[in-house]
């Protein structure tokens, strides 16, 4: 098999070849590194490539396998993680100048579990600064480009995590999702992305943005790949006091169970104004496919959906303003030179280190929490959050999953929305309620609109990732794998 054919495999297929002795982890890793070297100048998915470490890890995996001690489907598989995950000894920036040169002294739990499962870490992936954004354009380092059309955004904030998969640079990635940051890029780049239930995957060692909404999760080119990655990272972690104690499910065993008998809730509020007709057509076709497979469609209502963006931008920014208070130039990160006094050290370091979007959100969150506004804004937003959660609780008495679009449109042009923050925020209009309700949500490819990928969103009951993955697999099996993007090949 040529290096190009190797990098085009799914994680599942690569894993099967490793197990059969048809390929080594070193060969896979070298093929991925070569692919990154050949394409990433145009994609911009990686902020750091850890080539030597990766090759050493690949050799260690091959040695384990040779002695009969290979540890499972991820052993020897090249992966990469969003640069929001702490990686011991490897620079971690959160896409921000304020953390330039920061070398974490420990691994985050999800990263540690991937590595314990034998996965080979290729490097750290591009993102919006502190995961704040929907287009990856708020990265302080470089923009990331959509492999389907290099003039378009891969989505954000986990833009690099989706673009690297679409560009065939690795076999699996981790991202984080606070308001849609896994599902939106997965939709825009034609890959599968899962935002687990709040508390399913440990947040330990994931740089915090909004602590009651943030959730790490996997992205892959297929549902099997995502299920395998989730199996490795999910489960209780004593290092994260918000991580659920219940054990993780076996996400692979039920994957082929099909959609027969599944009750799919279709919220009328998610098909409203602003949804592009061609995107709606792909989503409706996917729903019709489910009917053909034996699922039932149930019309439901999530009446408070329209308040999601408003509640989110008070709660998320309030939490962000508190979480980002730690960047003060004292213990790590950027310190402004030549300042007098501690107050000036804080203010100057933050002014120089933060980009426009974190500043905007810190300002909004500080405002929402300040005297005179807390009751009117922040507390009300938390009440609205309860109403949104109740909407879903009511819906799940009549259906097993909720289905709709991930975003109103396919990937938009770079630069199209950077001048108007509110327009950018509206990219998350269909994904954000899932975070507010702390539910699991997934994006699975459901076809193309204008030559660009469209994702179907599935939202499930708390801790029912298994049903989401099984439902997504049923559609994937029916539609077949999405074609590989050709934008990179045309100019190669």
């Amino acid at each position: 098999m040529s290096a190009g054919e190797l990098t085009g495999l799914s994680l599942q297929a690569a894993s099967a070849r490793l197990a059969a002795g048809q390929v080594s982890s070193r060969q896979l890793t070298e093929a991925c590194l070569a692919r990154v070297a050949a394409t990433d100048g145009r994609v911009g998915a990686f902020l750091t490539v850890t080539g030597e470490r990766a090759l050493a890890a690949a050799d260690a995996s091959d040695a384990r396998r040779a002695s009969g001690r290979a540890s499972g489907p991820l052993d020897g598989i090249p992966v990469a993680v969003k640069d929001l995950f702490l990686t011991r000894g490897v620079a971690t920036t959160a896409g921000s100048r304020i953390l330039e040169g920061f070398i974490p002294p420990y691994d985050g739990t999800a990263v540690a579990r991937l590595q314990a499962a034998g996965a080979v870490l290729l490097g750290k992936l591009n993102l919006d600064e502190f995961a704040m954004g929907s287009s990856n354009e708020h990265s302080a380092y470089k923009p990331c480009h959509n492999p389907w059309d290099l003039s378009r955004t891969p989505g954000g904030s986990s833009g690099g995590s989706a673009a690297a998969l679409a560009a065939r640079q690795c076999f699996g990635t981790l991202g984080t999702d606070t308001g849609g940051s896994i599902r939106l890029p997965a939709s825009f780049c034609g890959v599968v992305g899962l935002k687990p239930t709040y508390g399913r995957v440990s947040r330990y060692g994931v740089i915090a943005f909004a602590s009651s909404l943030d959730q790490p999760g996997p992205l892959g080119r297929t549902t099997w790949d995502v299920a395998a990655l989730l199996s490795a990272i999910a489960g209780p972690d004593p290092h994260d006091p918000t991580c659920a104690a219940r054990p993780a499910d076996d996400y692979l065993s039920a994957l082929e169970n099909g959609a027969r008998g599944l009750r799919i809730g279709v919220p009328r509020e998610w098909f409203g104004g602003g949804l592009q007709p061609e995107v709606e057509a792909r989503v409706r076709e996917a729903l019709a496919t489910y009917q053909r497979l034996g699922a039932t469609l149930v019309e439901i209502s999530l009446p408070h959906s329209r308040y999601g963006i408003g509640a989110y931008y008070l709660i998320a920014t309030a939490e962000a303003s508190a979480n980002l208070a730690r960047y003060d130039g004292v213990r790590f990160g950027l310190r402004a030179p030549g300042v007098r006094g501690l107050k000036e050290l804080y203010a100057e370091s933050r002014e120089q280190g933060f980009g426009a979007e974190p500043k905007r959100r810190i300002m909004l969150g500080t405002y929402a929490l300040s005297a005179g506004y807390y009751q009117a804004d922040y507390l009300r937003a938390q009440q609205v959050r309860t109403l949104i959660r109740r909407d879903f609780d009511a819906a799940f008495t009549r259906c097993d999953v909720v289905a709709g679009p991930v975003a109103p449109w396919p990937a938009f042009k770079l630069g199209e929305k950077t001048g108007d923050p509110l327009q950018m925020y509206l990219a998350d209009i269909f994904t954000i309620t899932c975070n507010l309700a702390a539910l699991p949500g997934l994006s699975v490819p459901c076809g193309l609109a204008g030559g660009l990928p469209v994702g179907l969103q599935l939202v499930g009951r708390p801790f029912d990732e298994a049903t989401l993955l099984t439902a997504a697999r049923a559609l994937e099996r029916e539609l077949g794998p999405p074609p590989a993007p050709t934008a990179l090949e045309a100019k190669a």
């Binding site: 004593p238 990160g333 950027l334 310190r335 501690l342 500080t366």
Partner: protein, 97 residues
């Protein structure tokens, strides 16, 4: 309700941000537009609705560790990213004049 420049400066001071005059003007406009959108929430009757206080459902058990001493970072590891240090301390500019 547009945000005044004075209001922007008050919030920036609370947030320990030193904004440039251009940023103050830009944020006054942008934050006003976002707050206008957010204020749509005021049209909802939320009387009697409890605020969500935890993202985990009530009764969901969390994983707690046993209360036992475990090794942590060494002083050198903890200080490895310090912009300035002296011995085992983070060094900052003079606080008391």
């Amino acid at each position: 309700m547009p945000l005044s420049i004075d209001e922007v400066r008050r919030v920036a001071a609370l947030a320990r941000l030193k904004l440039s005059p251009e940023e103050e003007r830009l944020f006054a406009g942008q934050l006003s537009a976002i707050l206008d959108h957010v204020r749509e929430l005021e049209s909802l009757d939320v009387s009697g609705v409890p605020p969500m206080t935890h993202a985990l459902a009530e009764g969901e058990a969390v994983a707690l560790r046993p209360d036992l001493p475990v090794p942590g970072l060494t002083p050198d590891e903890a200080l490895a990213n310090a912009p300035s240090r002296q011995g085992t301390c983070f060094k900052v500019p003079r606080i008391i004049e």
